[in-house]
Symmetry: C2
Subunit: 127 residues, 2 copies
DNA sequence: TGTTGACTTCGAGCATACTCCAACTTGTAC
DNA sequence: GTACAAGTTGGAGTATGCTCGAAGTCAACA
């Protein structure tokens, strides 16, 4: 897979993929005639990175997981612990957003009530 | 309420409150002897801003709602429409995060399975 | 009246995550 | 073999949202 194919597949730009390689999120990507060739393993790893990214994990923390991964199987427990911790954050985040959703609903209700008051005034129901 | 009280109450820094005033999220805050005095109405508005902020609305969009608010009641429909649209985004975001949570759970399961395999090898159950 | 400490303004600086540029190389198409 | 698209590198620049520093002001208390 070329860089532009990979980029399209992952929904990011080729620039971003080079950037991720530069900061070490993904390492020793093969080259053919100097050009990057992404294997299916590379893609699986990048997809996992994207998964962490969309759940608002900062690149610095993703980098830490990447570093551990490149150190080998001995770091598995630590990586699992990081994921478990991230899962808890994610669950808390979902609960928080649900709370904000309800608050937003109430605010919208306020607007609806104000609109109705205005309509009543305009149709002159009180005079 | 002084700026530091307001900041503490809202969970941001005084610097941030001045910044929000500078970019126009909140306007004509009273001064007493040159110092900001936040009224309960100011606080209600700032709390609403925070509510939007924690749901990942960019300051630029919040600014737009603030601009509309300062234009008066005539912009109520437009503001309500923005909130409705934001609510849809928020709902979609929650669904998305729930999906990512499940994906994360599966990844964690993978790690657990690998750990169990390793334990079996170490205790020599196969020889 | 002097000191303390929280406040003021303005502008510069910072962290994150890209995003772009310049100059050069490579593979394919004719 | 030459044109052209797509790729390469390193480094600089950008957008967002703060965050800090400098230099000065103000109120309250000893």
């Amino acid at each position: 897979m070329t860089i532009s194919e990979a980029a399209q597949h992952l929904g990011v730009s080729a620039h971003t993929l080079r950037y991720y390689e530069k900061i070490g999120l993904i390492r020793h990507v093969e080259r053919a005639g100097g050009r990057r060739v992404y294997t299916s393993q590379d893609m699986a790893w990048l997809e996992f990175i994207m998964r962490l990214k969309v759940t608002a994990m900062p690149l610095a923390r993703i980098k830490k997981i990447a570093d551990l991964r490149y150190q080998g199987d001995a770091t598995m427990d630590e990586r699992k612990a990081m994921l478990l911790s991230h899962r808890e954050n994610l669950k808390a985040e979902i609960v928080k957003l649900q709370g904000h959703l309800h608050a937003l609903d109430r605010k919208i209700d306020d607007y609806t009530a104000l609109q109705q008051q205005r309509e009543q005034r305009e149709t002159g129901e009180n005079t």
